[in-house]
Symmetry: C2
Subunit: 533 residues, 2 copies
Amino acid sequence: MSVPPGVSERDFQRAVARFESVVGAEWVFTSDEDVALYRDAYSPFVGEAQEKVASAAVAPQSAEQVQEIVRIANEFRIPLYPISTGRNLGYGGSAPVLSGSVVLDLKRMNRILEVDERNAYALVEPGVSYFDLYRHIEERGLKLWIDCPDPGWGSVIGNALDHGVGYTMNPYRDHWGAQCGLEVVTGDGELVRTGMGALPGSRTWQQFKYGFGPYLDGIFSQSNFGVVTKMGVWLMPQPEAYVDCTVEVFGHDDIVPLVDHMNYIMNTGLQNAGTNLQSPIRFAAAANPELRAALASSDPAEIAKLNAFARERGVPFYSNIFKFYGPEEVVRAQLEYTRRRLSSIPGARVRDGAFYRFPITAEQKATVRDPQDLGIPTLETFSIGARSNFAPATRGHLGFSPVIPMRGEDVIESQRVFQRVLQEFGTDVALLVFPQSYHPRTFVILCMFYVMPDAAHNDAVRRTFKRLVEVAAEHGWGEYRTHTAFMDDCAAAYSFNDHALRKLQEKIKDAVDPNGVLSAGRYGIWPQHLRKG
Amino acid sequence: MSVPPGVSERDFQRAVARFESVVGAEWVFTSDEDVALYRDAYSPFVGEAQEKVASAAVAPQSAEQVQEIVRIANEFRIPLYPISTGRNLGYGGSAPVLSGSVVLDLKRMNRILEVDERNAYALVEPGVSYFDLYRHIEERGLKLWIDCPDPGWGSVIGNALDHGVGYTMNPYRDHWGAQCGLEVVTGDGELVRTGMGALPGSRTWQQFKYGFGPYLDGIFSQSNFGVVTKMGVWLMPQPEAYVDCTVEVFGHDDIVPLVDHMNYIMNTGLQNAGTNLQSPIRFAAAANPELRAALASSDPAEIAKLNAFARERGVPFYSNIFKFYGPEEVVRAQLEYTRRRLSSIPGARVRDGAFYRFPITAEQKATVRDPQDLGIPTLETFSIGARSNFAPATRGHLGFSPVIPMRGEDVIESQRVFQRVLQEFGTDVALLVFPQSYHPRTFVILCMFYVMPDAAHNDAVRRTFKRLVEVAAEHGWGEYRTHTAFMDDCAAAYSFNDHALRKLQEKIKDAVDPNGVLSAGRYGIWPQHLRKG
């Protein structure tokens, strides 16, 4: 049996016995085989000594059991690492930041406590996946949509807490933005309800976010201050129709007006949907070293070559899907307006896309291009870099994902800057470098790495990743989320006024988790006894 | 010279001298006349011993000066009470919760640091009013709108921090929701930037809310943990057109389908605008005791009388303005859809309202019904209960404003419940009891009281108010915001698990303001040495 760092074997055995008395022996896992299931399938340290692994796991069934486990952990100073469904692949999965932590596995807390059709919300526990919530709604014939990320097996709560995103309309696709009301066990074992949930018998816990007084929900996201045991989430009433169109532009600089129009259209609420910005020429460049070199250059002659390639071959420099949800006459008017507006970019092509009236048929559902666009969870889109027939075969992927302004100039600049770093380290580690409209008002420049059972390759990935974080920070760009292996690096970049924000986060950490038992090191926040400097 | 509680006169004089050395003697106010200007013009204790008053005021010019003042306050244990423009009338104005506090007046920090047209945001200091920001934008001809509450003289930061609201589109009308990035001096004198502002040279401080790690912004709203010295706010790009219509329903129960349609229309993003729900029959009832009694009754015979009155006189039971912002063809399609959808309520009348193409002319601007609907700040709408020719002449007003679910049944029930309390205490203290769509997904039942230079009247107001808070809590309804006089009462209702939320708020308070120098008592949070029980 492994033992957490700083804990004696005797104390750990006593703690495990106490955990067993709370949840039953069958829900405390200490054998090597059982604990191995909590390894990060996408770890960039796979097979190396630095791989972060758990010492044990315990799976409670209720908030009260979570409280008892947290209290026992306080008594014996056991580091706990809560996970929801443990599917945060690319970001550390179910493995702890601090090796030897005991995973607090919340998978058994999978009750959908309420789904309200008229006011369009749900109250769920952490073990509830997007598939679970979708099925619950479908089985009851409720006219509600969920918003889900690429893989549907993840936790609704876990994804929101990690600031994950989806693909339908604002505000639903920003999963933290669609959150409303929490129940939390803080690091000292107290059970707290936030917002209107603090009012006994409240009727608006899942409907009014702010409650009364300081609005605390945010402190439990990307955090290690508490274990979220219940969360409210706003759902989208089923729209009557959906329509989309794809706008393609063929000039290197066309990204500037394209993004300006995207801003206007999103910020006036005309198109509430997420955008799908792509750079098709970058896919073409994957097989064309000359193009790839030109893409990293700012030489006008090189850019002219790219423009010629794009126009002659009809390969867009950029394309974006504009998606509209609502009554048919409204979404058609929105699409026509978008077509007119975007056609002002010389050479732009607007191509009609899908149209659906809801509910759709089973046949339509089976053939829809991106099921997540219609709030349908799937695992298909997640095949990239997984153990699939996608080439090259890998063990997983992880993404470098800094936030940049939503401006064409910043897209051009950041791609050049990151491409230079990637070239320096060997571009083959990178899959894509293109902007994603994950959140309202900013882009994330997503740069995907493969992780393989190959230490040399993974070492290059790690070094490249760390260098990208540094270079990004030098340019005023920071990560929105990261794999547990890079949390300290990313957090270090947020250093204004001698790391004043981290110091503030640490003050709160010490106040609500004085023994530092929860998720040591998560998002760069360490308990006092493990803090450096 | 008054002296703050618990501070010796000698220490206070030393502190005042130190304040003067920081900001200059002309910006420290200790004379009775000067300090009287910080009285709450709408105090429900006007002329009584319990009126909360300041002992002095100090007006810094920069975040660095705020830090120095906070440090001096820590040294001498001086209670500070930060205000922005001090215009939070109805909620305590510029007067402190703890009598004898020194007002930290941020009016001189009134710089508009940045307005970005392409990405539609501003970075402002606390002394910037809605008028200031509006004028700044107008003078430069920027195609941007602000969203403002009724009175335009308030602080953009102050209103957002108090969870204030406006009248244009989501997400702009929820002022805390439109906030992005803070600079804060915490109670221990540290200067912190939140979100992406923690990354030196960040390019997305006003564009990406969450930053990296625990998202802390919320803890500084409705709070006394820090002094906000800068805030980012999302602005709305000027839409091409505006159109509205008024839907009127004439049956007692028609509120149920009316609100269900409002929910659907808002939650599918079709109508992004705030709603203006009114109950015209309640205005008619003001002069008709029989109607008033019937409105408080659940007797079918009484309700039949009301229905007959509404239909025969053509006085709607409820009316709502649906507002649409966007390209002309889109807003017209949205309006037509709304007309069709709402016409399904038997007897409903849909009346066309205003139509504007932007920019509007000066003449149009002078005649627009509700300027705030078009992002134009004004003071006109604020005349209710102020020293105006509005009858009866008063000294001010304050609102009881609990949050209820956005459902017709809850509107009916809450109005009956509150009306019974008001009748018990004498209905003449109440101006209105109708639901406002202040935030997405909930209503606020707004019940306005006049405050007069009449101790007996004000005593009745205070007793009624406190009773309303209790009765609301018994029904699962809690306040979203309140006058400083009732903060303890309202906070006490949020008592789940032996006041676990308040205890958590107090832990954070103690961690970031260990000497409790900031805004003692605000939103029911007291520093350790003044905490009861």
